[in-house]
Symmetry: C2
Subunit: 343 residues, 2 copies
């Protein structure tokens, strides 16, 4: 960055004008966007889906290795992922930020480039937000709004005994990306002459820094006339998520280690760090894949979709939540996912 413009030069309203000036409305449901007390949305007979997430510097991201454009992209994506997890389509987001004077206007422009890129890719309008200074750290709060045909949303609590448990994509990559970035940061802090060794790690680093929300899976459901019996997104690791579905549906489950999708890149990285790839996949967070349950008769509809893996099935609650290892052992599934209060 060559120039540095202080945010204070623009003031709050000047800043909002600056950040939103090139932003076009794409969605017919956006009746009124940025620039008034509130935005107005008309979902024309569909139901409105709302979710919100807080991203805090030092808790959820580290600016030392997170490019601001990626951060803006990710801040939107993690919210859209929750909308898709309801079997809904996102239509609008609001973006509130608290920024210290460490952040220049040029840096904020980069952040919003990522925000706009995510919005454009997913056909979503930025319709509001709030901007403030913060005394410490970059604070991001995003609310995403979506639409769904009346009562076609999919909850966590409606899985049935015998349903297949499925996940999209592959798991554990984001956690391994975080592991490598934290390692490189430590090395850099000890000796700033050593350049980061990220060769061959672009896949897992990308899983961490530039996650994608699975719009394609929701579109596939629509095309294939599939309605999952339950669904949620994978933000804390599938151990944690599958326990949510079991608890809220009052059921048990069986998961098979050999069925858990793990990319070759993640497997190699895990071995390099002396970690068990399966443990990374079970307990690593932030993959933003979808975990869902399907009626057994829908199995034929997904069999050709390489982005979907069947990893187990739902059982009676009395049978508990079980994990069958490749070695033939059975364990109880416990949630060791990411917990914002134990950091």
């Amino acid at each position: 960055m060559e120039n540095r413009t202080e945010i204070a030069e623009l003031g709050e309203f000047g800043l909002i004008d600056h950040l939103t000036k090139n932003f076009e409305i794409h969605n017919a449901s956006t009746v009124l966007g940025v620039g008034d007390d509130a935005a107005v949305i008309d979902h024309f007979g569909k139901q409105t889906v709302v979710t919100t997430d807080l991203l805090l510097e030092g808790i959820h991201f580290d600016l030392m290795y997170t490019p601001l454009k990626h951060l803006g992209y990710k801040a939107v994506i993690v919210n859209l992922s929750d909308i898709y997890a309801m079997n809904a389509m996102p239509t609008q987001v609001t973006m509130s930020i608290g920024i210290s004077n460490r952040i220049s206007l040029e840096a904020l422009n980069e952040f919003y480039e990522g925000v706009f890129l995510a919005c454009e890719k997913h056909g979503v309008d930025l319709v509001g937000g709030d901007t403030s200074t913060s005394n410490k750290g970059f604070i991001i709060s995003v609310t995403a709004i979506g639409e769904v045909a009346p009562d076609k949303f999919v909850k966590r609590s409606t899985a049935q005994k015998g349903d297949l448990i499925c996940v999209s994509g592959d798991l554990g990559g984001a956690f391994l990306g975080l592991t490598i970035m934290e390692r490189e940061k430590k090395i850099y802090l000890e000796n700033s002459n050593i350049q980061p060794d990220l060769e061959n790690e672009s896949y897992i680093v990308g899983r961490l820094l530039k996650p994608e929300a699975r719009k394609d899976i929701i579109e596939f459901f629509e095309q294939s006339e599939i309605v999952p019996t339950s669904m949620m997104d994978v933000s804390d690791g599938i151990s944690s998520e599958v326990l949510h579905i079991c608890k809220q549906s009052s059921l048990g489950c069986v998961i098979y280690e050999e069925k858990i999708p793990i990319s070759d890149e993640s497997r190699q990285a895990a071995y390099k760090f002396g970690l068990d790839p399966t443990v990374c996949a079970l307990n690593g967070g932030e993959d933003y894949e979808l975990i869902f349950t399907l009626k057994q008769e829908d199995h034929d509809k997904i069999i050709l979709n390489e982005e979907i893996s069947v990893i187990g099935y739902m059982t009676d609650i009395e049978e508990g939540c079980k994990f069958h290892s490749k070695g033939g052992n059975t364990f109880n599934i416990t949630a060791q996912g990411w917990n914002a209060f134990q950091k």
Copy 2:
């Protein structure tokens, strides 16, 4: 407070369960509330109105003199105020918080008591949110959602020449409440034996710590078949707000000092601090009153409502934005409202 329970003992999901366990859904439009990836809302043919606000410790509030119950109440109210300012009725809120380990569970319970009180008073459901630790300070992000009959929302940009400019309630009180609390804080920090001198100041302190959103005014509009030609809420001071309406409507205005509603308590407090009550009313923020413009023929409909004052009228843009003082002088109105980037 006698007991102190650490938040970490509960974990994130335990905390959410704890905070939301006694919360009932009041609104028919709330199809699905807390406990899934997202909430689902059905406004049944009405349009959806969305607004969001960030409240940061040390920037927007000071926990030294802000009781947590009041803070929870205010965090909701300032967002509902934006919904009312669209001529809409609020129906749902989401509440995201970032808390340091300084905040105990008992303290958080108090905060949520205020949140629930505001929700109950305004008939609004808490349908979601996010909870996280923060490295420093209490972080609050609220999104409010409301409904309005199709295209009956009122923007800032639609005032017409000749329209009457009106405000609800009285102005400047919250700023004077802030002034007295900051004075008492300073005295206390110098000598903690001196007890705060807030006798006779309960009105202005209440205006700061426990503001109200003007649902009654929106209900009055409905009953009286009034649709304002433009409207916004008074969060930065009416100087700033009236300039927004003028700029966005491409008009000028005239405001009369003698018409600006100021309570006796605010006037007395201003004199005590050697401040001009009118300047406090023009530039003081956080009153959360409504400023709106009306067609002249609607004047008779508001004349008996003591909560509404006509303070001026809209003019051509060439005439600028003018302020007529009691002394007969005319000044240009300038925005000296609260700016989060100049603190």
